[in-house]
Amino acid sequence: MTDAPDSTPDPTTDGSAEEPEPFSDGPPPLPRPMLVLDGELPDLPDAPAAEPVDHGTCRCGGAFDADGYCTSCGEPRPDPRHHFTAHPLPELAAVCDRGVRHADNEDAMAVWGERDAEGGLRAALVVCDGVSSATRSAEASLAAAYAALEVLSTSDAPPQDRLVTATDAAAQAVARVGVEFPESAPSCTFVAGVVEGSLATVGNVGDSRAYWMPDLGQPHRLTRDDSMAEEQVDAGLERSVAEAGPLGHTITRWLGPDAPDHTPRVATADVSAPGWLLLCSDGLWNYASEPVALHDVLLAEQERVGTDPLALGEALVAWAVSRGGADNITVALLRTGGGERPAEAGRAAYPDSVPEGTGQTEMKPADGAGQDGAHG
């Protein structure tokens, strides 16, 4: 080292190489007085503070860390698959949620919409519900929804043909997931709606549903379930009893291996009036199956949160969660007819409780999944 420490005093003896090695010259010389240290300590410097990085907020209010856990309560960051939304147009949105009881979200949705040059509306809505008794159904339902939407949003074929092609595409997407994960046999339901101007065309396979709910007049269910319950209703059983029964959630058609066929059952509706086109999985309709009952729920939530379809979708999901959230919950909503809100709905006064006739069913979540291979 070239820089001799300035703190080293310069003794008169300089350390030249001729000096003998220490301890080679017999006993040490007599000690010289040394400086006695008084032990006076200097102040310690402060430690620098770390700067925070944003990784999202936990429901406890704490911040998530990059490691995927809350920095306050330690809860794992929810999987984005567990709750996701879409809101492509002011009047169109969808919400997909894991619910309460299920560990995974096997529901899926996809929505698309645009205004043409004249201001006419074109939209497509897809909801799929993965069969929870089959593995990889979460991947399958999402792939199916995306594949169907791709067809519905790009094809110029008549809506009915488009729905058939979209269902084929969805079924192929499900099959591809089955190839990608060879030990799995993923399956899902399918409901899709195409809206062009005032005409809505819907098609379904399985028990996910489409409802048309004009602000004024009678709400309708546009789809017919491919389920044992539907068959029991046809045979004369009361719907609330059939849907709550052991076969209530056993579907008779689906997209996936061993499916009997997957041609969608197609229906149309004039949606020129102000109102809502609503597509949903059974996670929602389990708690309000009859169109009137579901419409009452929708109107009550609309009263609370307004006509923004995303806010309303979230509100409907929250409502289903509040009823138990026994299954995954998906709802897709399109506001039609340009009406801001119902001036005077048919049943303007929203009852404090759900109307009679559904009171029994809605309290009973779909527990039959484990018994009969029904989807959950």
Binding site: L37, L41, D65, T71, P76
Partner: protein, 428 residues
């Protein structure tokens, strides 16, 4: 640049209502490099050698200590700041031999001068280690650019010229200012007293049986310190809101309960100074008590981080997952079991020797018997052989022992000082 990794060994599954989560976090440093020889972004290094020159050392002892110190000087890299303190009932600055408190940069010139200064040492006076520590703190304070500060302290006797309170006070004054490896020469020093210093100053304590063992030990200590190029490090343990950190212990290579060293980083995070790192692995045992959650729920029980210069260099996550599956929840991590046994072994040895010292042979026999049993269970053969020099082992499996009638004091002290050295988990 050094690379840190952290591996967690634990069973994250808790039974319904389970609250206590244990994890062993193994932190490994590689590529540490040597200490920064000259001024750099990571700061500079300082070394102080504290040599006991009390009357009991005698001329021969002081000469041997001076020779050992010169062996340590040979290991200090040029450019590192250093000083030598001669300690008795006072603390004198042996080198640099000026008239103000100062440290010097190592160079061939200063090394030679320092060795000559060591020749000036002569025995005399008593022992007041607290003053030695304060003096070292004072000297380190004269070089503000130091980021790594390490001292070697040699003593041969009990701290007779200070009260235990005075020593405690001095230890608290210098805590966090430097690290100190402490060595006791011969049989006249107090293991508990010197261990107190070493634990507070994140260093080791060891017994040097005779003078001729000193130079090699000093050279080795200094060499190891030169290899610890990573300073300004801190172990951080985060636990969730509402949780209680039961303890944080270093369990390998030596046992150190860090719990009392905690400084608050934030409301949920404690920081524990770890001293400088070389290329090595250290294992930490972290225990956290949580409020139980429902079956199927998951919660992060602890984030265990090694922080270098304020940046997280490695992180291990200790998790909790409540399960109804008793096959999962009943398993005990082999690492947790091993170090729990090693911790109990150290306590049993120390408690046994303490009881033996005050003539409580019943407690001593029972504790040392338990120690023999634990040493066998954890496969710690070195501990077994040290124990065998203090007790006659009749049945290691049941821990049946008899206190030996004639025990070499040095054997007993060695059992004591080595009690905190742990073995690693045997491969499964």
């Amino acid at each position: 640049m050094a690379d840190f990794t952290a591996t967690v060994h634990q069973n994250e599954f808790l039974p319904d209502g389970g609250t206590d989560v244990h994890g062993i976090v193994s932190v490994t440093c590689s590529g540490a490099g040597t200490v920064a020889p000259m001024s750099s972004a990571s700061g500079e290094s300082g070394e102080i050698i504290i040599v006991d020159v009390s009357g009991s050392m005698d001329v021969q002892g002081v000469q041997a200590a001076a020779y050992a110190a010169s062996a340590a000087l040979d290991q200090i890299i040029d450019g590192v700041w250093f000083a030598i303190v001669a300690g008795n009932h006072e603390a004198a600055l042996c080198y640099p031999n000026g008239t103000t408190a100062a440290m010097a940069r190592m160079s061939p010139q200063t090394r030679l001068e320092a060795k000559r200064s060591l020749q000036r040492l002569a025995p005399g006076g008593g022992t007041a280690m607290g003053r030695w520590l304060l003096a070292a703190g004072q000297l380190f304070g004269t070089v503000p650019t130091l980021s790594k500060r390490h001292a070697i302290l040699l003593t041969d006797g009990a701290n007779q010229h200070e009260t235990p309170d005075e020593l405690s006070w001095a230890i608290e004054q210098v805590r966090g200012r430097f690290q100190a490896d402490c060595r006791g020469l011969g049989a006249a020093w107090q293991v508990a007293e010197v261990r107190r210093i070493a634990e507070a100053l994140m260093g080791t304590v060891d017994l040097i049986r005779t003078w001729d063992g000193l130079p090699q030990d000093f050279a080795q200590l200094m060499q190891q310190s030169m290899g610890r190029g990573i300073s300004d490090t801190q172990l951080r343990v985060w636990a969730p809101q509402g949780a209680e950190v039961l303890f944080v212990k270093q369990v390998s290579p030596t046992l150190e309960d860090l719990s009392g060293r905690r400084v608050e980083v934030n409301a949920l995070t404690g920081g524990y100074d770890t001293g400088a790192w070389g290329d090595e692995t250290r294992d930490y045992h972290v225990a956290v008590r949580l409020a139980p959650k429902a079956i199927g729920q998951e919660q992060l029980a602890a984030r265990v981080q090694l922080v270098v210069g304020g940046e997280v260099a490695a992180q291990g996550l200790v998790k909790a997952r409540w399960s109804a599956d008793s096959l999962l929840t009943a398993q005990i991590s082999p690492e947790v079991a091993h170090y729990t046994g090693q911790t109990e072994l150290a306590s049993a040895i120390q408690d046994g020797l303490r009881a033996k010292a005050i003539g409580d042979d019943v407690t001593a026999t029972s504790k040392l018997g338990r120690a023999v049993q634990l040493a066998r269970e954890t496969g710690d053969e070195a501990a077994t052989s040290r124990l065998a020099r203090v007790v006659d082992i009749e049945d290691a499996a049941t821990g049946r022992v008899r206190l030996r009638r004639h025990v070499d004091k040095l054997d007993e002290m060695e059992l004591d000082t080595a009690s905190t050295k742990t073995t690693r988990v045997r491969p499964q």
